[in-house]
């Protein structure tokens, strides 16, 4: 087979001290499916198999990966294999000593989230007082010589702070800031009406990004993750299904992306039972939507199909109820009206109620019980 994965996202644990209401973890992260976490040895085997398959980039994520015991050992193994290893962390209670130990183990890059440009909003959105720890950790990464990415998920409540977020990253000397407009899966989909911005908010923030890019040049890379609901065509999700990317969950299930586990019509394999290479090449989850033979119209005859790969399978499942449908954000999709209705609800309401369901274990169990 020609396709080889380049990226592995290792979700080491779903434990997290933060409670962001747009978390990309499954709604049922606290349930039985994710309970039995992989051992350190099992993770090391996964990294070895991933490298042999062609993976070059490893993201250590969660939950909060620093809560995973023996993280330094995992980093040391990954580094020894030549994987470019990134830690994707909230930085909650992350000390300089811990970061120094991770640096010594071979960690290449640190990505630290921030939920707003000031302590008040950041802590409110995170649901946990964490802004001070984040700022301290940003400085530690500079002192230790790590390349730093600041990651901010954008939504209705913090889009007005885009300039402040960019200035924060600039003042820290970060290499890069990810301004990731909320993608509506998992907790974010559950909280969609409270999180989705208005078109006017998005337009204003985009103007700030253009201005700041011109001002900063290569000093700070500003990545703007498109708000796909407001686009005309879907995003080329994960660069195509099963083409370059794999996620391994804390309990060892292997998914084509970090949201795919929600698709109930797919069968997912576990690294406890199968080699990673077999899963990549032969499993139902990876082969079902690989290539373009699965595509319905309007994708099948669409000249854009090699560009956007039919968009996102998770979104098709979650919004249109069929993982094999055209991504409903596509203007050519027969389900586009479902997206337009969601947008219209947001545009119609001046001030919506501030109800957010925060990501936490009790809420997860309650949602799982409701089905």
């Amino acid at each position: 087979m020609d396709l080889k994965p380049l990226w592995l996202l290792a979700e080491l644990t779903y434990k997290c001290p933060l409670q962001c209401p747009y978390c990309s973890n499954p709604l049922d992260f606290a349930g039985a499916r994710f309970k039995r976490e992989l051992s350190t040895e099992q993770w090391c085997r996964v990294f070895r198999e991933a490298k042999a398959l062609g993976v070059l980039q490893l993201g250590l994520s969660g939950g909060e990966p620093t809560l995973r015991p023996h993280l330094e050992e995992l980093v040391r193994t990954a580094h020894g294999l030549g994987l470019y290893t990134s830690l994707i962390t909230s930085a909650y209670r992350l000390t300089k000593e811990r970061l120094a130990a991770l640096k010594e183990a071979g960690l290449d890059h640190v990505q630290i989230s921030v939920q707003g440009a000031d302590a008040e909003l950041s802590d409110e959105i995170a649901g946990t007082a964490s802004y001070r720890d984040k700022i301290a950790a940003y400085h530690y990464t500079r002192e230790l010589g790590f390349p730093l990415t600041v990651n901010a998920v954008l939504h209705r409540r913090n889009l007005h702070q885009v300039e402040g977020l960019i200035r924060l990253a600039e003042s820290l000397g970060a290499e890069r800031i990810d301004l990731a407009n909320t993608q509506f899966y998992g907790w974010a989909l559950h909280n969609r009406d409270a999180l989705m911005p208005t078109k006017a908010q998005l337009d204003a923030a985009w103007q700030v990004v253009l201005r700041e890019r011109a001002r900063l040049g290569t000093r700070l890379e500003i990545v703007w993750v498109l708000p796909d609901y407001h686009g005309q065509f879907p995003k080329p999700c994960m660069g195509g299904w099963g083409r370059a990317y794999m996620t391994v969950t804390p309990a060892g299930e292997v998914w084509p992306c970090h949201a795919a586990g929600r698709i109930t019509t797919l069968t997912f394999e576990n690294v406890r039972d199968r080699p990673l290479g077999w899963i990549w090449e032969h499993s139902d989850a990876f082969t079902r939507f690989r290539g373009d033979a699965w595509m319905p119209e309007p994708c099948r005859s669409c000249p854009r199909k090699a560009q956007d790969f039919g968009g996102c399978r998770c979104q098709a499942f979650l919004v249109a109820g069929d993982a094999g449908a055209t991504d409903p954000v596509c203007s050519l999709s027969p389900h586009r009206h479902l997206i337009d209705e969601a947008i219209a609800r947001v545009e119609a309401v001046e001030e919506r109620p501030a109800e957010l369901t925060y990501r936490a274990a009790p809420a997860s169990r309650a949602l799982a019980a409701k089905g």
């Binding site: 062609g54 030549g82 470019y84 290449d108 390349p147 290569t218 890379e221």
Partner: protein, 92 residues
């Protein structure tokens, strides 16, 4: 502003790492959230970008190595491309 003068010293940014990609039989430059595939010449250029050699010295070294001349423009263009991604910086 030109960054390709004789006294310019190109340096690989510390966030970037050269790595051999065994599976695809090539060399790559890895950096946060991305990679650039390199040919043998690209690797040879970057291995000389250690912060001690000027662009002119790098070009002269490569011209000796490949027993050819007139490489300055190609080398400068290659490095400019990486500099635009923030992967190469220029210093005095």
């Amino acid at each position: 502003m030109s960054s390709t003068g004789a006294v310019t010293v190109p340096r690989l940014h510390p966030k970037a790492r050269l790595q051999h990609d065994d599976v695809r039989g090539r060399d790559v430059l890895l950096y946060p959230e991305g990679l650039v595939a390199l040919n043998a010449t690209g690797v040879a250029i970057l291995e000389l970008c250690d912060g001690t050699r000027s662009l002119a010295e790098i070009v002269a070294t490569l011209e000796r190595l490949y027993a050819t001349g007139g490489l300055e423009r190609d080398v400068a263009t290659f490095l400019e491309g990486l500099a635009a991604k923030g992967l190469v910086t220029y210093g005095p």
